[in-house]
């Protein structure tokens, strides 16, 4: 493949310069939007062909969501024109966008949790002051949409009781009920299991077959390659390219997104495992409702190796992680660190685990890893704030903490490199780097990492993976839990598959195929019998 410099004027030409046969559904011209000092969208031009699936990729903060929010009328552009079906419209609010046939499925669903599916569908699109006629019409209409687009969902179910995948269908149904011809989906697969994502793609293909236009915002290149017709790339508020999907490659798109060459495969050497550092013995853990989620699990992690735990989300991985790191009491069993049994029971279990040399990068960085309203330097000492480095008396040595934070922000390339910035103002990838820096720089013996790259953009993923491998090569034991099978396969030296609270199999990432692992993740363990 030839090298492409994204700054080069000779970058890939727009996919279709002339008007396509089906016409443009949406044309954006010179769209600008500023939020204070941040220029979120700079002179954006974008044309979407009717009846296609058009992908928009870009790293977090590239301006994709802002652009779509402008199209959906949630924000108003500072300047620029929007054409819908060839006519110029100044979209003032969401109601206006809906009237023009533009519907949006937001990344965080806009559903009322304690309403029924039907109530959610009619909210804002009621026919009259009384609800009954609207509800009756919606019930009939949903019935039709369900069969037409294969979008089955129980209209009387309460939204909080149905799965995330089903909730997303409700969002799609909401848009279709309002007569959407163009459907915008913002990071739709971030919250879905692989099976749910496949189902979603089937629905999108049906929509396309019925002549609807779909705009898919994502940062997962695999999805772009699998389903879109055209793809536009955004970087730092600018539209850098629009190409036909068939004429591009993941490598090229990654390079356009990041602005430099990115290695999509992880470059790692052979593992040299030493002595056992972390040992989990017959662990039994229950969740908040008292249901046993981890059923008699035993395994060990040696120095200089990465053990990956694969599995479909919700099979006990979260409870296992929380228990090993002292956040959740185990019913029975032991966690042995470096030969010494860890006493993890009680509210300060996590603190004792840390003191013993077990660092933890939690699955949910915003809820467990950071206090998002704290500044960067405050976040960088969370959980370690009582170490003597930051003062021994009742007062905190703020200067020392800030000094350390300033060093770490540089080594981990956190952007922007501002230790006084609030945690919530960093992008997902940079938030994760803050957590990683905090946990890794204490030189722990064991690192437990949950979902290290969930919601993290490509450039940061590469960095985070390299850091984890560096830790392994420094002789640390690493326990990695991820629902991204690709990530487990490329990072781990040994894969344990978890299903229904048990370790159902072990695999060598060098030889195991995706199919074999998939079967184990679904609880089919015939493979052992076959051996």
């Amino acid at each position: 493949m030839s090298e492409i410099n994204p700054q080069d004027p000779q970058r890939p030409q727009p996919a279709a310069a002339s008007v396509p046969a089906s016409g443009w559904a949406i044309e954006l011209e010179k769209i600008n939007k500023r939020f204070g000092p941040v220029h979120a969208n700079k002179d954006i031009d974008l044309k979407i062909e009717r009846g296609t699936i058009h992908g928009i990729v870009g790293e977090n903060g590239a301006g994709k969501s802002t652009l779509m929010s402008i199209l959906y009328g949630f924000y108003t552009a500072d300047s620029g024109t929007i054409r819908v079906n060839g006519e110029v419209h100044a979209i003032t609010d969401s109601r206006h966008a809906l009237a023009l046939g533009i519907g949006m499925v937001h990344q965080h669903f806009m559903l009322v949790d304690n309403f029924s599916v039907l109530e959610n569908v009619i909210l804002g699109a009621e026919d009259s002051g009384l609800l009954k006629p609207s509800l009756d019409r919606a019930r009939k209409e949903l019935d039709r949409l369900e069969t037409e687009y294969d979008l089955e969902v129980n209209p009387d179910a309460i939204v909080e009781d149905i799965s995330v995948g089903q909730q997303q269908r409700v969002e799609i149904l909401k848009a279709l009920y309002r007569g959407a011809e163009t459907l915008i989906l913002d990071e739709p697969t971030g919250v879905l299991t692989p099976k749910e994502a496949d189902d979603l793609f089937r629905v999108l293909e049906t929509l396309r077959a019925q002549g609807k236009t779909v705009i898919l915002i994502t940062h997962k290149l695999r999805e772009i390659m699998a389903i879109t017709d055209n793809v536009s790339v955004m970087r730092q508020g600018e539209m850098v390219a629009t190409v036909k999907t068939a004429e591009t490659s993941p490598e090229q798109l990654a390079e356009l997104m990041v602005g430099r060459r990115v290695l999509l495969r992880i470059d790692k050497g052979e593992a040299h495992p030493g002595k056992t550092l972390l040992e989990v013995q017959n662990l039994v853990v229950a969740d908040d409702l008292g249901i046993v989620r981890v059923k008699d699990v035993s395994f060990s992690v040696r120095a200089g190796e990465i053990v990956g735990i694969a599995g479909v989300s919700g099979n006990g991985q979260s409870e296992l992680l929380e228990s090993v790191t002292g956040m959740r009491d185990q019913r029975s069993g032991n966690v042995v660190l470096n030969g010494n049994p860890l006493s993890l029971k009680g509210d300060d279990g996590a603190a004792r685990a840390r003191a013993a040399g077990l660092a933890h990068v939690p699955e949910d960085r915003q809820r467990m890893g950071l206090v998002t309203s704290f500044s960067e330097w405050e976040n960088s000492i969370l959980g370690y704030h009582e170490t003597p480095t930051y003062g021994t008396g009742p007062l905190l040595d703020i200067a020392a903490a800030k000094r350390e934070a300033a060093e770490r922000i540089k080594t981990f390339d956190v952007r922007p490199a501002d230790i006084n910035l609030k945690g919530s103002l960093f992008s997902g990838g940079n938030q994760q780097k803050i957590v990683l820096a905090r946990e890794m720089e204490r030189n722990p013996d064991v690192l437990v990492v949950g979902q290290p790259t969930r919601g993290v953009d490509i450039g940061a993923i590469e960095f985070i993976h390299n850091q984890i491998i560096k830790m392994r090569d420094a002789g640390k034991a690493i326990l990695l839990v991820s629902v991204e099978l690709d990530e487990i396969r490329s990072l781990a030296d040994r894969i344990l598959v978890m299903f229904d609270g048990q370790i159902v199999g072990e695999a060598d990432p060098a030889t195991a195929t995706e199919g074999e692992l998939g079967l184990m993740m679904a609880g089919v363990t015939d493979r052992k019998a076959a051996e």
Binding site: F74, L98, V112, L123, G124, G129
Partner: protein, 321 residues
């Protein structure tokens, strides 16, 4: 205890639970829309004063009622501007209303009427009288049902009937109308409402105005129906009890009615039990008077379980980046 005594306690229960119920339903509208309203007390107090003052001057209970409602709605508007438009803290906006009402009613009362903050005693035209329902006298002879109809159901102020009718109206509005659906939605997930193309702030303002109207009714009840004139701090914390009742009822209209009846019953019992003897010793009046409040605490702490209110309650809505 004979039938007459029971009926008289129940009769008092209806009378005492009426302002609670009106205030509770008032709170229901704004809280369901996502605005915590600790200012029910202040709005009621302001309305009670305005109703009594205007009724005293004009000599008409109806004009007094209108004035009470108008003042309560204006107070609600003030609170709305602070908590919705200016995105201020809802708790503080409510507390400010309470303090303002407590101070201003006493001050104006003294300035205008020179009776130590009280308004002049109202004549029969200045306050609402009891309404005799049709055939009450004729039917009172019928065993059991007759006295229940004649003594318990008939013979209350108009506002008592309005309060209980409002329960049905509120339930209907909340669950059967477009406005109700949107109201419930905006308290749970205002973003969902915004993306559906409905103005969050407008909806919340409508809710707050309804709260103002109902608080006006509740306040007027104190001074120109139950009482005949305004006295200092005459609402006596009923606004807070109404708020407690709302939580106890999990923000639902029909349970709200039963909770208010329960609190009203405790209050009625308290009046009845004054001078009662326990094991030959007279129970101090203060202890009996404290009973409803003690029970409120016990009920809220012990029996309510987990009360999950409207999810977006207390948070001003801002379109975020």
């Amino acid at each position: 205890m004979d039938m007459g005594a029971i009926l008289s306690i129940l009769d008092a229960t209806l009378r005492l639970s009426t302002p609670l119920l009106l205030a509770c339903l008032a709170g229901l509208y704004s809280e369901r829309a996502g605005i915590f309203d600790i200012g029910l007390e202040g709005k009621m107090l302001a309305a009670a004063f305005a109703a009594a003052a205007v009724a005293a001057v004009s000599g008409s209970a109806w004009i007094g009622l209108m004035a009470g409602m108008a003042v309560s709605v204006m107070t609600a508007c003030l609170q709305g501007v602070a908590a919705i438009t200016l995105k201020g803290n809802q708790l503080i906006a409510g507390v400010a209303i309470n303090m303002l009402a407590a101070g201003l009613t006493t001050f104006l009362g003294q300035q205008w009427f020179h009776q130590g903050g009280r308004t002049p005693a109202l004549g029969p035209d200045g306050r609402f009288g009891a309404i005799q329902l049709p055939f009450a006298a004729e039917l009172s002879g019928v065993p059991i049902l007759g006295p229940i109809y004649a003594d318990l159901i008939s013979g209350h102020y108009l506002l008592v009937y309005i309060a209980f009718a409002m329960v049905a109206v509120t339930a209907y509005v909340l669950y059967r109308t477009r406005f109700g659906l949107r109201l419930r939605a905006v308290g749970e997930n205002p973003k969902a409402v915004d993306t559906a193309g409905i103005s969050v702030n407008k909806l919340r303002f409508q809710a707050v105005l309804i709260t103002g109207l109902l608080c006006g009714l509740a306040g007027a009840y104190f001074s120109i129906a139950q009482g005949s004139g305004f006295g200092n701090n005459m609402t006596a914390g009923k606004g807070y009890i109404a708020l407690a009742a709302l939580i106890f009822a999990k923000w639902k209209p029909v349970p709200a009615m039963f909770t208010c009846l329960l609190f009203g019953f405790l209050d009625a019992l308290q009046i009845r039990l004054q001078s009662a003897e326990l094991f030959g010793i007279e129970v101090p009046v203060q202890a009996i008077q404290a009973l409803p409040y003690v029970l409120t605490v016990v009920l809220l702490a012990g029996f309510i379980g987990k009360a999950v209110g409207p999810k977006a309650g207390g948070v001003p809505y801002t379109k975020e980046r």
